[in-house]
């Protein structure tokens, strides 16, 4: 059987890659992608727990569904903001967007 810890390690790796991406990427859309990765890492852990801890009555999977919906909503609003940024600053490069008012 695949021990639970393998899944948790994999979830951790993907989560930390997402954190690294979110902190270092210059393109706003790439940051959104990294955030999606972080949420996916978390999802993996939830589903692993639901599979290995039968007493939790699949709460992990229910929570994973909620994470997916929230991720979708967050991606939509994030992209709308990026479009607004782009229309005013003509760039999506996060470093160049440092004015509070455009």
């Amino acid at each position: 059987m695949i021990p639970l810890s393998h899944y948790l390690i994999l979830g951790g790796i993907i989560f930390s890659l997402g954190v690294f991406g979110a902190l270092t990427r210059r393109n706003a859309i790439a940051i959104l992608m990294s955030i999606e990765l972080m949420l996916n890492g978390v999802n993996l852990n939830f589903i692993a727990f639901a599979r290995y801890l039968p007493q939790t009555m699949l709460q992990g999977q229910v929570f994973a569904i909620f994470v997916i919906t929230v991720a979708a909503a967050e991606a939509v609003v994030g992209l709308a903001i990026v479009l607004g940024l782009y229309r005013n600053f003509k760039t999506v490069n996060v470093d160049e967007i440092n004015l509070m008012k455009w």
Binding site: M1, I2, P3, L4, S5, Y7, L8, I9, L10, G11, G12, I13, I14, F15, S16, L17, G18, V19, F20, L23, T24, R25, R26, N27, I29, A30, S34, E36, L37, N40, L44, I47, A50, R51, Y52, L53, P54, M57, L58, Q61, V62, I65, I68, V70, A71, A72, A73, E74, A75, V76, V77, L79, A80, V82, L83, G84, Y86, R87, V92, N93
Partner: protein, 163 residues
Amino acid sequence: MTLKLGIFYFLAAFTVWAAAVVVLGKNIVRAAVALIFGFCGMAALYVLLDAEFLAAVQVLIYVGGITILLLFAIMLTSRIGATTARVVNDQVILSAMAAVGLLVGLIYASTSGIPAMSGPPRLPETTPFLGRALLTTYALPFEAVSVLLLAAMVGAIILARKE
């Protein structure tokens, strides 16, 4: 049992490689394509964990919805065909250290104190159970999420609309 482990390692490697391309990829479109393959790898992992409903939902919503939205945004914002010279900003070393530190903490937490349990041989069909759970025990979060989605839709339309 080694077959399942073999499949797991292959899928894990594939997903981590895709995530790495997303994070470090030069061309933003290549990053989006890698993201798609990353999500498909995750869906395969969910099937390994007997969560096939979630695998299908993951493919349908993440790949069929969010990635198309991302590609849409990329086409609308970047000059077509432009590849950004510098991908990472100057605080790369600091954030790399923070990420590695986080990773070490997570690995320690996930290996120590968890007995090598194996859990039931095979979960029964999860979809009906999920459906019943969502509408009975988790009815309140279910309604809250629907309100959240509505708010997100309205907000996005207002933000993205051209004045």
